[in-house]
Symmetry: C2
Subunit: 427 residues, 2 copies
């Protein structure tokens, strides 16, 4: 038998070998890749948007830091106003004015009042504020036309946050609102989990970097670009490494460099069976590397290989753009999220009605790319996009998400209810 | 009458003055602030994630750039295989091998075949590919056990994208998927709309920058921090300017500097009626500035002032953190989105059941901050958070979104269906 014939047999052998299921692959990643939260670092609160808090934050001050008026009016001793109404005002002596921004020196004694504005500290002696609308000023005196109870129109010191109270917990994603709370406590810096750095490289003798001239027989690289963007969407920081030729030594060097410069390594191409499995070979032949799984019973994405270089997870994705991005979404994204401290919550889902029959690949969990279309009000159609060639680039741009068909189901029928897992939408 | 008494009358006059409705304010912004898309700039495709395309992109090459095989096998002339089956194979002479990454020099003549791998260019003469699984190699010959039709297992040049085809339109938000398509076309740079720069400053004699010591009677600044983060969430680039004292000349200078350094100016504090309306005064007294509206019948956020400094929109928000962030969300965010080319789509909404009765402020469109809580499966409760003091900081962190109560509705009852407008959630 000739070499090619042996190869054909090898191909067929691999095809019929029992592949890991999707869930087994997930389990192996959890047990053997063991992604963990990265270390924390001090960052400026002004740069904390979208980052994950890596400390429990307890209030070192109370909020508000002093009792303050919630209205414009007069700070009074509430007992002095008892019985006051429209017909029987109480007359108080105005002992001074309380300004915003400093503690008042004046004291409100019996039958006295201090002019006060919203937000200003309550002067000593006073225990309530009468709204300006319920008063009438006459020189150094003020007529109060309404009785107030103790604490009326006052926010007490510590009413919002008590000193020592734990206000935010480690693991919280900081949005504009959490950042507001941290600013209120006077924090200009916070501890946040580091952002996972993900090295991204493509391989293939036919792959050319965008921006360069395209020679006959070549195609432009898609994956290092789309995967770098997908890394950002997952909350990571991409390290774009470009395109590498199918050269074992160069690939080994690239993998080594990637794993020492980044927290995760993602490659695409060179994982198919036969002569094109150079990436798993390069990974396996590195010192301190380990191939954890090679081949998953999913469509697309079957030849995916996952391993470790030292302690750094390495994901070797297929070269087909749609397959690469889907496998990234299924297996890499959750790892990036876990490392960033965001936890591996699944993305957004919507219910829709299948717009046509969608077939599964025998024995493989099948992911059908669909676009969504508003049908009647309250009904959304899920339309499969270009099911044939997973290399088709436009499939990517047209898909809003994907429908999952389990291994034991032959097809999803027309008009059946389906769950669509949505891709990122930057809108 | 004394000064303070006159002031009280002024306060009451302003209170009963007819305020602009929410919709009138929106209309005035549209007609007089007239936010427009910013200019475009060339950016690297690697940095395009989340940016808005500012050009129609037509394909300068076809995709794929050459007809290629979708399987491993043999490139053949389909007519040579007619009639071939398991029992009657057709024997073809193997004239050579086609590799990936360069155009094949060989030609497939009658009764010839060329070994080919997935993705490799189809050699001249061949018009179909037989899968390796349906062949048996014997030295320089191959037995074909299955007939193929013309174009079988071939993706034709241009099948995915035709040369000249407009692939992406100006105005598209670029995600990993659009970036993949642009890379496929060989673009390493694209034209994108500039990101709006938004200057953010706080004012108030009591306001201290986080990180500094807190003197008695002072509070830490919240708004310049929470609003800077909200600018990022809206797709803008914040320019943090910090805290300014209540000094008309200093504020005028700050506004001038802000408007010359940024595309939009956002301030908070100093907009209340009475002695605290220093921000509208500062805005009005600038050259080439214009106050477009002052006061909107909304709660919270009534004293909001909106104007122009030259052609730059200026939003003077209230000092209360929750009010400031809500008004930002209602009026500033749509302007930032419009300028960035993203269009002013409203945020995400969910249906929920009100967890308690929520009251509106008389004659004002009322926005009630709520947190969401999963009740029974399929039912979400909307619970109002701290309705009293809009200065309460924790209100911010606890709220998932808000419920709108129209001007002519007194309250939303317990157990009533409500629409909750969700705040940003970085998860």
């Amino acid at each position: 038998m000739k070499r090619t014939c042996l190869q054909a047999l090898k191909v067929m052998g691999k095809m019929f070998r029992k592949l890991l299921t999707f869930e087994q692959a997930q389990q192996l990643i959890k047990e053997q890749v063991r992604p963990r939260q990265l270390d924390s670092e001090k960052i400026l609160l002004l740069e904390a948007n979208g980052r994950v808090l890596a400390e429990d934050v307890a209030a070192k001050i109370e909020i508000p830091p002093f009792s303050r008026s919630t209205v414009d009016g007069y700070a009074v001793r509430s007992e002095d106003t008892f019985g006051a109404d429209e017909k029987n005002p109480v007359t108080l002596k105005v002992s001074g004015t309380v300004a915003i921004g400093k503690m008042p020196r004046i004291k409100v004694a019996k039958l006295e009042a201090a002019e006060i504005v919203t937000g200003a500290p309550i002067p000593n002696g006073a225990d309530a504020v009468v709204m300006v609308e319920h008063t009438e000023r006459a020189k150094d005196f003020v007529n109060v036309f309404s009785a107030v109870t103790r604490c009326a129109n006052i926010t007490k010191a510590g009413a919002d946050i008590e000193k020592g109270e734990t206000v935010l917990r480690s693991g919280t994603v900081m949005t504009s609102r959490e950042i507001g709370v941290l600013a209120a406590l006077g924090k200009a810096e916070v501890k946040a989990y580091k952002v996972p750095c993900v090295a991204v490289l493509s391989t293939g003798p036919e792959v050319t970097e965008p921006g360069k001239a395209l020679l006959p027989g070549k195609i432009y690289d898609i994956n290092a670009y789309s995967l770098s963007a997908a890394v950002m969407e997952a909350g990571g920081k991409p390290l774009y490494m470009g395109v590498f030729p199918d050269d074992l030594e160069k690939l080994k060097k690239a993998l080594k460099h990637a794993s020492s410069s980044a927290d995760v390594v993602v490659t695409s191409g060179g994982v198919s069976v036969g002569p094109k499995d150079i990436m798993p070979k390069a990974l396996a032949s590195l010192n301190e590397s380990r191939v954890i799984l090679s081949g998953i019973a999913i469509k697309p994405g079957k030849p995916t290989t996952i391993g470790l270089i030292g302690e750094k997870p390495a994901f070797l994705l297929p070269g087909h753009p749609t397959s690469a991005l889907l496998v990234f979404y299924l297996f890499v994204r959750p790892v990036i999220r876990l490392m960033s401290g965001k936890g591996s919550t699944s993305g957004q889902e919507v219910k829709a009605t299948s717009g046509s029959r969608m077939f599964s690949a025998k024995g493989r969990k099948t992911f059908v790319m669909v676009s969504l279309k508003q049908d009647k009000p309250g009904n959304t159609l899920a339309l499969p996009v270009s099911t044939g060639d997973s290399g088709a680039i436009t499939t990517l741009a047209k898909a809003d998400g994907f429908v999952v068909i389990p291994e034991n189901v032959q097809f999803v029928d027309f008009n059946q209810e389906v769950t669509v897992h949505l891709f990122e939408k930057n809108c």
